[in-house]
């Protein structure tokens, strides 16, 4: 990503480096330190918000691999999350509540589902692919519903807090550390995938499939690989969701959840890991932001009743606004701001580049 002001990378190592300048290294260290020390200062409400954002970010990063990098549209993301959550549920029901078993099992189930979707997806494009993933979502939910009705309690399955040997993961602060750490790992993983051979192949397929094939990329293999990576990561996110909420129920994984995840990657900016995280934060925090705004405005009584449709509508409106006016999402805004700062007081960058 060339910056304004004539800053160019001159070596491959420089191009591949995750953090390349001293400013970025300092900023990264400061951010890590802030995240580490935050529980000392912040209220448990703030910590809980960050935890939720981190959980959403894992799913959004996984969807970004599939839709943003490989260009494969999926409306079935909620189905993969449900698959992971219910894998945990099934294992708990069978007296195997250990996360050391459940997380890899969820990843495996997700990967298998990824192959199941990925292979037919080779024949389908665009709209038809979206429909296929949507149908899959309903099939997975049906299977989960059957499980819930027949084996679980009717309303859902309770999940005990995860236990690693003698250590029990419980409480806001523990979950905050655990999920931000995992989200950080997934972030590094997805940035790594993006700059590696796999990620470049995905982007080539996204941009022009025939050209990608003609330079020797095995399109079929990489497409299935995208589905497998994405759905495995998503299922792990689902398993974590189950542990964190301590409860799984089919009702939590409706079509709207899939829309929320798509909104995250679109509002954040398709194809960018930073965008997925920003979008996850935006979509997670939006309802709380509206709550705060309404509370600050001191709307007269009865306003609580209008809050739900208001949040719902604001979500739809923002998603539509980003689709129409800012297809590059929050990352696009961020890039413009950054370039403006770099170039100030001039307005245009010296050399036109593709970004």
């Amino acid at each position: 990503m060339p910056l304004g002001g004539g800053y160019f990378k001159t070596t491959y190592a420089g191009d591949l480096a995750l953090v390349d300048t001293r400013l970025r290294r300092t900023a990264l260290a400061a951010a890590l330190l802030a995240l580490l020390l935050l529980p000392r200062f912040a209220s448990s409400f703030v910590l809980d918000l960050i935890t939720q954002t981190a959980l959403a970010a894992i799913g959004a990063l996984a969807l970004n691999l599939l839709t943003g990098l490989a260009g494969q549209v999926s409306l079935g993301h909620a189905g993969f999350i449900a698959a992971g959550a219910f894998t945990t549920g099934v294992l708990v029901e069978h007296r195997m509540p250990s996360p050391l078993l459940a997380l890899p099992a969820a990843a495996l189930v997700g990967a298998v589902l990824g192959v199941v979707v990925g292979i037919p997806a080779l024949r389908l494009k665009g709209l038809y692919l979206a429909l296929g993933t949507l149908a899959l979502h309903h099939v997975v939910l049906y299977a989960c519903g059957e499980f819930q009705n027949h084996w679980g309690a009717n309303t859902g399955v309770s999940i005990p807090p995860p236990r690693f040997g003698g250590f029990v993961l419980k409480g806001t602060i523990a979950w905050y550390y655990a999920l931000t750490a995992i989200a950080g790992l997934v972030l590094v993983l997805s940035v790594n995938l993006q700059r590696s051979r796999t990620g470049r192949a995905w982007m080539a397929i996204r941009d022009r499939e025939i050209a990608a094939e003609s330079v020797g990329i095995d399109v079929a293999r990489y497409k299935v690989l995208a589905f497998v990576w994405s759905s495995a990561l998503t299922s792990v996110a689902g398993a974590l969701f189950a542990y964190q909420r301590a409860f799984v129920s089919v009702e939590a994984f409706g079509f709207f959840l899939a829309i929320e995840y798509i909104a995250m990657v679109i509002i954040g900016g398709l194809g960018s890991a930073l965008g997925a995280v920003l979008g996850a934060a935006f979509v997670t925090l939006l309802p709380y932001g509206i709550d705060t705004a309404v509370a600050a405005l001191r709307v007269p009584g009865g306003a609580e009743y209008y809050l739900f449709p208001l949040k719902f509508g604001a979500f739809g409106l923002l998603m539509a606004a980003f689709l129409v006016f800012e297809p590059q999402g929050l990352v696009g805004v961020w890039r413009r701001v950054r370039n403006w700062v770099f170039l100030w007081p001039l307005r245009y960058r010296p050399l036109r580049s593709a970004s």
Binding site: L134, H138, N149, M319
Partner: protein
């Protein structure tokens, strides 16, 4: 047995009304309108609104609600879909998703999420009718079948015989060529959306009278696009066999299988169709990727 047959035809008619909306919009603008189900809900609430304002006038209420829905379809095209021209199709499809969200939010904002029944406001009753052969259906079930039949006959006549309908087919087939022959394709696209709104409203009005009215009716719309896809997304004639197949599988799986299957069987049909013939039974054949 006759009961199963009758139920299948009734369910198929409701699906056919909804799927007609999908096909009309898809043929014109190549966009899959995922808000079709919510446009159906909107039609139901328009009926409730008019019926609450002038109670006891069923014909007036139903016609006004259907016309309002058609106008809403027109407005949706002008305000939301036309700016999406030139954007990727998927972005346009997502805009219809957000449209569904907005419609539902607006409905909850005005009418809350309580279940409503417009039937008493209209001053109508919904007595069960015994058909020859022994099957029993409600009056509005019959009305649904008749409405679907009438709508399809009218649509076929319109698209085959009237100049405007022929222009609409031309614009849907190749907008550029149509425009060069002086066809106002923007108007025709808007008209397609209006017709889709009208068809959806018919489904919504009948369903609201027959069963109930609540903001989450739109879920039915998702099932109906399995119908549109099985028949062929760009084939209006395919909707009828598509609806019958999907409805038959749904009714049979509920009767002989598991009630939970009702929600998923249309999607199983959809998946099976996507694997074998993604363009549907009667759709225009599209080239598949070879692996």
């Amino acid at each position: 047995m006759t009961q199963v047959l009758a139920t299948t035809v009734v369910v198929a008619s409701l699906y056919a009304l909804l799927a007609a909306g999908y096909v009309l919009v898809y043929r014109a603008t190549r966009v899959l309108n995922l808000a079709q189900g919510d446009m159906m809900t909107l039609g139901g609430y328009f009926l409730f609104f008019v019926a609450a304002a002038v109670p006891g006038r069923p014909a007036l209420s139903i016609v006004t609600a259907a016309v309002l829905s058609a106008l809403a379809g027109f407005a949706i095209y002008r305000l939301l879909m036309r700016p999406m021209a030139g954007h990727p199709i998927f972005a346009a499809v997502l805009v219809t998703v957000t449209l569904g969200i907005l419609l539902r939010a607006a409905i909850v904002l005005v009418y809350t999420d309580r279940i409503r029944h417009p039937l008493p406001l209209l001053g109508l009753a919904n007595p069960p009718r015994r058909l020859p052969g022994g099957a029993v259906v409600s009056t509005f079930d019959l009305a649904t079948v008749l409405a679907a039949a009438a709508l399809f006959i009218a649509l076929f006549a319109f698209l085959r015989l009237s100049p405007l309908g022929i222009q609409m087919r031309a614009a849907g087939e190749k907008a550029l060529l149509a425009a060069q022959r002086g066809i106002n394709f923007q108007l025709l696209f808007a008209l397609s959306w209006a017709l889709a709104g009208f068809a959806g409203a018919l489904a919504g009005i009948l369903y609201a009278n027959n069963v109930r009215l609540d903001p989450s009716l739109g879920v039915l719309g998702l099932k109906a696009f399995a119908v549109a896809l099985v028949g062929g997304l760009d084939s209006l004639g395919g909707v009828i066999p598509g609806a019958l197949i999907v409805a038959a599988i749904e009714v049979l799986s509920v009767r002989y299988g598991d009630p939970l299957l009702a929600d998923v069987s249309p999607f199983l049909c959809l998946l099976a169709m996507l694997l074998v013939r993604p363009w549907g039974l009667f759709g225009t054949k599209e080239e598949l990727e070879r692996v």
